[in-house]
Amino acid sequence: MVKKYRNFKEIGDAVVIYSDNYINDIEGEKLEDLCASYLDRGFTRIVIDFSETDLVNSIGVSILIGIIEKVRDSKGRISFSGLKRVNHDIFSIVGLTKHIQIFDTEEDAVNARARQGMVTT
């Protein structure tokens, strides 16, 4: 069953969250709260889709790292999709790309059931 809302889409045990245009101030923490509430509700796979996101700064990075920690703590899985080049570069600078799966599209991310675990290279 697929439920689609403006900012997120629920597909079985997975949820795709579409992040905002900018993740550059502490307001971005609502993304973290949203993920936390999905984890609480038993969702085990979280995909954050960045196709609409033009800017992630250091505050955004700290928020995303917070989300990754939360997902790990609750033994869930998290992946990113739809990264623009500039965002990919930033995630790579701060070392995020080594720790989570990154897909071109949200469909790839949702369908990547077979690939368990994390990409470590």
């Binding site: 250091s58 955004g60 790292i65 995020l96």
Partner: protein, 409 residues
């Protein structure tokens, strides 16, 4: 992506973060938010998952958390540093890798335990002018990498930025504290002042069983009337105090004279009529923060035609405050019971005022007084003062009838 590209990208990202941090700490946003944003910037730059900013709390002599992330509630995590430790940290003034255990880590003592609980790996001191204002503590990088020399430099620059923010906020708080302290002190004095005067007024009224509350009413009526006449806030406060004290001279008059129902002998009359001068003698020895209180007291029984006492002054020679008090004093005396007669109705009192318009009472005071009464009866004011204290109901139709025939000033 090539490694060299990444370095340039990293440099740009970090420069951008520094620029944003600079912008953030000089923004007019509230301090809590600024500190939180600053912490997130630091954590984002080093991909840290746990971090705290501590600030020195001089009241408690400890460093207390003012922002944190990834650690849940850290409100109780206080860090106590000895003077020696604080000065060692200030002198070192470089980010410290707790894992390496190099100097001055060994000076931390008990604080090391608190920091360990917070999983702190790096601490950066927040120092301005050799004063340790606080410090940032973050855990290791998410990527597991060590902190490079370059990372330490970046952390140091970010810490300097945040130090200045903390410093200016601290100065502002100190200023506010001083201001509030002074304000509190002043208000306290003012309250003591008012309390004392109210107690005094009550003791004056207590001498006269009929005039309970007279001084308070004269005070309140004078204040509302002078405000209607455009007096400043300070001037209104002055006449409010004068109203409370205007009969203070009665403390020297025998109680039996004050409460006498039958006509007074000429001696008794002289005694009673001495109260404005006695009051003046008392009050002129007190240094009031408001002007004119002794003279308003002295002249509150003068009449504009020059037939009053004690100085037989005419209209403009009588201080305006005394002319205001003369009217409201007589008005209150008429509308309350006296030893020698029951109270007059409002209509009867107004007829008296009308009959003595320009003789006993100043037309320039009577007119605004009528305005106040009209406004209160029509409920055009939020806090009516005079009408609720009258012992009868007034409506605007009968009021208009009662006030007919008042000469225009």
């Amino acid at each position: 992506m090539l490694q060299t590209d990444l370095s340039l990208e990293k440099l740009l990202f970090n420069l951008n973060t520094l620029a944003e941090l600079g912008e953030e700490i000089t923004s007019p946003k509230d301090f809590t938010r600024v500190v939180k944003s600053a912490l997130y910037m630091v954590m984002g730059s080093f991909s840290a998952t746990k971090g705290v900013i501590f600030q020195f709390d001089s009241d408690r002599g400890v460093f207390a958390p003012i922002a944190s992330k990834g650690l849940g509630d850290v409100g109780a995590a206080h860090v106590k540093l000895s003077k020696e430790t604080a000065s060692a940290l200030t002198k070192h003034n470089k980010p410290i890798d707790l894992k390496k255990g190099e100097h001055p880590v060994e000076t931390l003592g008990e604080a090391a335990g608190v920091l360990e609980k917070l999983e702190a790996r790096m601490i950066a001191c927040l120092v301005v002018k050799d004063e340790l204002l606080g410090f940032i503590a973050i855990n290791g990088k998410f990527s597991g990498e060590d902190f490079s020399v370059y990372d330490c430099q970046l952390l140091s620059v970010m810490a300097q930025h945040i130090s200045f923010s903390l410093h200016s906020h601290m100065l502002l708080m100190r200023l506010m504290h001083k201001y509030n302290e002074n304000k509190g002190l002043y208000e306290n004095l003012r309250r003591i002042y008012y309390d004392t005067i109210h107690a005094f007024a009550a003791s004056i009224d207590a001498k006269d069983s009929y005039t309970r509350g007279h001084s308070h009413r004269v005070s309140a009526y004078s204040a509302v009337l002078s405000r209607e006449m455009g007096w400043s806030h300070e001037e209104v406060e002055g006449i409010r105090i004068a109203g409370l004290l205007h009969d203070i001279g009665k403390i020297a008059v025998d109680k039996t004279i004050i409460n006498k129902a039958s006509p007074l002998t000429s001696y008794e009359c002289r005694e009673l009529n001495s109260h404005p001068v006695v009051g003046y003698e008392i009050l002129s020895k007190i240094k009031f923060p408001w002007k004119g209180i002794p003279m308003m007291t002295r002249n509150h029984h003068e009449k504009v035609d020059g037939s009053g006492y004690p100085d037989r002054l005419k209209k403009t020679d009588i201080p305006i405050g005394a002319r205001i008090m003369a009217l409201v004093d007589a008005f209150d005396a008429m509308t309350t019971d006296r030893p020698y007669r029951p109270r007059l109705s409002f209509r009867e009192a107004m007829d008296e005022v009308k009959a003595n318009f320009g003789k006993q009472f100043d037309p320039d005071v009577v007119q605004p007084f009528l305005t106040v009464i009209r406004k209160e009866v029509r409920r055009e004011v939020d806090n009516p003062t005079i009408v609720p204290l009258l012992q009868e109901q007034l409506d605007s139709v009968s009021l208009n009838r009662m006030l007919e025939g008042f000469p225009v000033a």
